[in-house]
Every structure is written in structure tokens, then in C-alpha cells.
């Protein structure tokens, strides 16, 4: 049991899901270079029209982070439709230096034969799928966000040796992708003339129900949960399940504070119950953890 007790997951920072101005992205990662995260995922995963940063810009950031001792992974689009998107995907997959996170089976196809990561938008729902991806070169997978702790436990028991598991522990939940841009729709703009308006919403645009409950977040072609998933109180369980890394998703404000909370709890400087009030105050629309427990994703079962 000593091994289990001492098992220490690494901290990972997911890609920025929103459209931030170039300078803001660069400043953000300058700060991240000294933050206590071990793995950093970089790149545009939502919309290929977003062009504040080009691949070269991302590679420059990757270089800085690598020099700062971070493991850098280049993330890719979740929804690939146009040839122009495939062309850019091939450039990323053939970068020759950094590991790549596939967020669509099309990317997996291009990465077969080299060591790659699959993100949470690739449907790895069972050990058979995990094993066959491992045979293609998969080295790490991220638990799909609607799966439960019980399924994770089964997957961990059955996973091929050498495969790392990552779990998203903090962030708004990606729920859907579409050909349609809901942010442009909200602004009454057609998608082909969207004015890149999602740059106005660094945390996405909240959609509420007619009785004023914050429900979803519109982030271009992606729909997210309004509530933030929070598995801080599950750290002991994540250790017990031998999860290699835990992922925090960037948000417009407080990302460094959030990283710090998880870091402090991981190294035992703070207990999760001590840290939980602070963490709660960083969430734009409150927290949830229903998926982890087998309920509706939006349910909140943890104590705060």
C-alpha cells in the first residue's frame, strides 16, 4: 500500500479553450512557465478561424515552457471538417519535436506509429478501445468527461502497462461541438462573417434558462457547462486509482491561483477541505462533480 499512498499525480494544464488576444496568451504562458504545473497542452482546439496565434507562435511558447522544465504537448482541433484544417493538423503532427494530443480520430490516424496522447474528445469508453489505441502508439489518454469514477477504476485495472491516465479535475466541461457558431448566432452574425466575436468573451458567453439558472457556456462552435467541474476533494481517490496526471483547464481569471490550490493540496501543504472555499470563489458559475459520481454532470455532490 505504500506505493499507492505515495503515488503523486503530476499537474497538467489543458489548452486554452477560448479566444484570447495574442498578447494575453503570451503573458499567460510567461506566468505559467514559473507555475507548479508539469505538463502544458498548447494550441487551438475549438475553431480553426481563430488566428491570433500561428503554429510558429505556439512553437515559440513551447520552447520557453520546455526551457522552464515543462513537458509540452501540442493539442489539436476537436472537430475537423475542411481540408485546410487537415493541412494544419498534418503540420502539427509532423512537428518533429513535441508530442501531440489527438482530439479527433483523424489526428489519431496521422499519429499512428509515434507516441501520442488522446484528449477527452476522443471516445475511449472501454479497455478494448484503450488497448487498440495503445497498439497504435498511444502513451497517455484523458478520461472522457462524462465517465464515472467506477468506470475509471475498471479502466485502470484493465489498462495496458505503460499507458498513462489523465483526468480533468477542474474546469468548465466541454459538452458539444457543432458546425454552427453559437457565439456568432448570439450576436446575430453569420458564421462566415463572425467578426471573430468570441474574442469578446474570454470565459465564453453564459446561456441561462428562462428562470435565470446559469446552464451552458457558448464558446464559438463549442458548448461548455456553465458550472465548473471540481474534483479537488477526490484527490485521495485519484491517487488510489494511480492516475498519472490531473488536468486543470485555463480560465480568464485566477488560473494561477487554481493551480496553486491543487499544488498545495498535492504536496500536503493544505488539506482539500481547507482549500475548497478559495477554489469555490474562483468558479464563474459554481461547481459540479455529478459525472464522477454517476449522476447528471451538473450535479454538485462535494461539500464546499
Amino acid at each position: 500500500m505504500t506505493d499507492v499512498a505515495s503515488h503523486q499525480p503530476r499537474l497538467a494544464l489543458g489548452p486554452i479553450a477560448y479566444y484570447w488576444p495574442r498578447a494575453r496568451v503570451q503573458d499567460f504562458y510567461t506566468q505559467i512557465s514559473t507555475a507548479p504545473v508539469d505538463i502544458v497542452y498548447l494550441g487551438e482546439t475549438v475553431c480553426s478561424k481563430r488566428n491570433e496565434l500561428r503554429l510558429d507562435d505556439w512553437l515559440a511558447i513551447a520552447e520557453t515552457l520546455t526551457a522552464a522544465g515543462k513537458e509540452v504537448v501540442l493539442s489539436t482541433l476537436a472537430l475537423l471538417e475542411a481540408e485546410s484544417e487537415l493541412i494544419r493538423l498534418r503540420e502539427i503532427c509532423n512537428n518533429g519535436r513535441y508530442r501531440v494530443e489527438a482530439n479527433d480520430m483523424g489526428a489519431v490516424q496521422l499519429l499512428r506509429g509515434q507516441a501520442f496522447v488522446v484528449g477527452h474528445s476522443v471516445n475511449v469508453y472501454n479497455d478494448r478501445t484503450l488497448a487498440l489505441l495503445a497498439r497504435q502508439g498511444l502513451m497517455r489518454w484523458v478520461l472522457p468527461v462524462e465517465l464515472t469514477a467506477a468506470t475509471l477504476a475498471d479502466m485502470q485495472r484493465l489498462r495496458p502497462s505503460g499507458i498513462e491516465t489523465e483526468v480533468v479535475v477542474y474546469g468548465r466541461i466541454p459538452l458539444a461541438y457543432s458546425a454552427r457558431c453559437f457565439t456568432a448566432r448570439a450576436r446575430n452574425l453569420p458564421k462566415d462573417d463572425c467578426h471573430y466575436c468570441c474574442i469578446d468573451y474570454p470565459d465564453g458567453l453564459v446561456l441561462t434558462t428562462q428562470d435565470n439558472q446559469g446552464f451552458l457556456v457558448l464558446n464559438g462552435i463549442q458548448t461548455q457547462s456553465a458550472r465548473t467541474v471540481n474534483l479537488l476533494s477526490e484527490l485521495p481517490r485519484l491517487r488510489e486509482l494511480q492516475v498519472e496526471s490531473i488536468r486543470i483547464q485555463p480560465q480568464a481569471e485566477h488560473t494561477l491561483d487554481i493551480i496553486d490550490v491543487f499544488h498545495q493540496c498535492l504536496i500536503g501543504e493544505q488539506t482539500t477541505s481547507e482549500a475548497s472555499a478559495a477554489l469555490e470563489s474562483f468558479m464563474p458559475t459554481g461547481g459540479c462533480d455529478g459525472y464522477w459520481h454517476g449522476g447528471a454532470g451538473m450535479e454538485k455532490r462535494y461539500e464546499s
Binding site: 469508453y125 459538452l175 455529478g290 459525472y291
Partner: protein
């Protein structure tokens, strides 16, 4: 082009066959397929009866096994694949890579189609499923524009089926979990979107509220037509506006694009609606059969007849239809 029609039960299957389907698709009576609704679908015995009926009329039969098993349930999907092979269906429509692998290794003669739930929106993804499992056909998600469909087919290693008519998913299929966010059940895990078990209809002084998993999806003033509270078709508030923030309650109808779809090389067109009545299946199959026949007789002069459009409009969700993503001018 092959006309592929839905069969939620034996009467629907028979009426689809009688009205001119080239193929019918159905599923087992559980969460192994994406229309897991109470009272719907087939027992193995009914399937055998359906297959016999279809065969007699030279209609092909596809079995949908298109949800994503988790480790503790995999055995049931495995058994379902074995049963499909034993029944001798013409193709298995699957989404999960684990299921596809099991089928391709244990039943190499079984034709495999990649379900729309497989979420393959580009030809690199299609190559993955073709290289690894030898799929013969894929159903494209309803998010591609006409030019993207054309380009995908030009580069695809497998034949392509597209949705032609019925309820419209505006999200890419297989990767939408809006439903489980509100209810705990999604198409991937449970085989149903916005499940009826989680719907509440609540009378208010002003009309009728519909809730899904407790979330207010729609508020109907008195006298307004009440639709099913599918999550993405609800009315929500963004900023100061209250509107269908994601999608209007419309149906897909691509009949006017038939010549373009044929020219692009589409091999089969699919009618959605295993959850609809046999009457619906009969009507829709008959009209699409007539349209396809008219197109094949005189491709150059094909246009949908007004009476077809009117009749299809009547059975459509929200009584309006759209070309969906196919008509997008942008990429």
C-alpha cells in the same frame, strides 16, 4: 442511391419494405443502440421475422449497435455482435472502436458500417476505421457542408451514407453530452438523448413549462404548440435575448440536393426516425422512393414536387425543414 429507412418495430419494418426502402435499420431492445426508448426495438425473435420479411422483398437489413460500452457492460455488446452475425444481417452499424474491433476479428465476414455516432467528420478518421476494422461504409455526421461532403467522398476509402430527412442534430454526433449533463444519460452511454424519463411537464398560470432533469427547457404560452424538450432545441437567454440559442426545432430535408449528393458520389441516403410511428415511416419512405425514382428517370430535370415537400413538412418536427449544414457557403 440506396434508400435506408428506420424500423423501430416490426410494423415499421414491414411498411418501410412495402413502400420502397432498399434497406432498413433496426436495433436490439436495450442500450446497445442509440434509439433506446421504452417500447421500441426488437427481440432477437422479432429480428429474425423482420429479416425474413425484408429478404423476401430483396431489402437489405442493417443492425445498429452504435453506443459506447464501458468495461462492465462490454459483454452485452459482444453478445449483440455475435447475435447479429448469427442472424445474418447485411451490415452492423457500430461506433465504438472496441466493438468494431471485436466484430472485425470474430466475425470477419460481417459487413461493418461506421455509425454517425462514430463521429467521423473527415477522411483521415474514415481511413482509421477502414485501416483498423475494414469498415465498408460510413454515415457522415450532419455537420458537413455540401463541398465538404464532396471532398470527403473524393478521399474516402469507403462508401458514404448521409442523412436525408428527419430530426436534426446540430452538434456533431457521438461527441455531444448535453443530455447527460442535465440527466446523467447520453446517446453514448445510454442510447438516448433528452430521455423521456427525465422530462417534466408543469402547468403554470401562464401556460406549460417543460423541464429536463429539472432544467427549464421551454416555456409555452397557453395555446402554443408543445414540442418535445430536446435540450439543444430549447429556448434560453443569452444577454438580453430569449431565443432558440442553439437550434430551432426543425427537421432536416435535403431532397432538393439529391442531384448534388448523387454527383458527389453519395451511395446511400438515410431517413431518421426509428422512434416515429409506422404511419410516419410509410409516408416518408413512399415519398422518398418516388423522389429517388423520379431522379433516376430524369436526373437533369429533377426538382422536388410541391406535394412531396408539403407532405414531408407536415410530419416534420416543428413543421419546418432545413438543409442543415449542407448548404453552408463557408468551410
Amino acid at each position: 442511391m440506396e434508400l435506408v429507412c428506420p424500423a423501430g418495430n416490426l410494423p415499421s419494418l414491414k411498411t418501410a419494405v412495402d413502400h420502397g426502402a432498399n434497406a432498413v435499420y433496426f436495433g436490439f431492445r436495450d442500450d446497445t443502440n442509440a434509439r433506446h426508448f421504452a417500447g421500441l426495438n426488437f427481440t432477437p425473435a422479432k429480428m429474425a421475422e423482420g429479416i425474413e420479411y425484408a429478404r423476401r422483398h430483396r431489402v437489405r437489413v442493417f443492425l445498429a449497435l452504435n453506443t459506447y460500452p464501458q468495461p462492465d457492460g462490454f459483454k452485452r455488446w459482444q453478445t449483440a455482435v455475435d447475435q447479429a452475425a448469427e442472424l445474418g444481417v447485411d451490415a452492423l452499424i457500430a461506433a465504438d472502436p472496441g466493438v468494431l474491433e471485436y466484430a472485425s476479428t470474430h466475425h470477419p465476414k460481417l459487413n461493418l458500417h461506421l455509425s454517425v455516432q462514430g463521429s467521423a467528420t473527415n477522411y483521415e478518421a474514415l481511413r482509421f476505421y477502414h485501416d483498423l476494422f475494414g469498415i465498408k461504409r460510413a454515415v457522415l455526421p450532419r455537420v458537413l457542408s455540401m463541398s465538404q461532403v464532396r471532398h470527403t467522398i473524393e478521399n474516402s476509402p469507403v462508401e458514404i451514407e448521409v442523412f436525408a430527412f428527419g430530426s436534426l442534430c446540430v452538434m456533431v454526433e457521438g461527441r455531444c453530452i448535453l443530455s447527460s449533463y442535465a440527466t446523467g444519460r447520453s446517446p453514448n452511454t445510454f442510447g438516448a438523448c433528452s430521455p423521456a424519463s427525465h422530462v417534466e411537464w408543469i402547468e403554470t398560470p401562464n401556460g406549460l413549462d417543460t423541464r429536463l432533469g429539472g432544467v427549464l427547457i421551454q416555456r409555452h404560452p397557453k395555446g402554443e404548440n408543445v414540442g418535445y424538450p430536446t435540450l439543444c432545441k430549447g429556448t434560453f437567454r443569452v444577454g438580453n435575448n430569449t431565443y432558440h440559442a442553439i437550434e430551432e426545432p426543425t427537421s432536416l430535408n435535403v431532397m432538393e440536393l439529391l442531384p448534388e449528393l448523387a454527383a458527389a458520389g453519395v451511395k446511400a441516403i438515410k431517413i431518421e426516425g426509428r422512434q416515429r410511428s409506422p404511419v410516419y415511416v410509410g409516408q416518408v419512405t413512399r415519398i422518398w422512393r418516388a423522389a429517388l425514382d423520379a431522379f433516376e428517370r430524369d436526373p437533369a430535370h429533377f426538382t422536388p414536387r410541391p406535394e412531396w415537400t408539403a407532405e414531408l413538412g407536415k410530419v416534420s418536427e416543428g413543421a419546418q425543414t432545413t438543409l442543415g449544414a449542407y448548404h453552408r457557403p463557408w468551410q
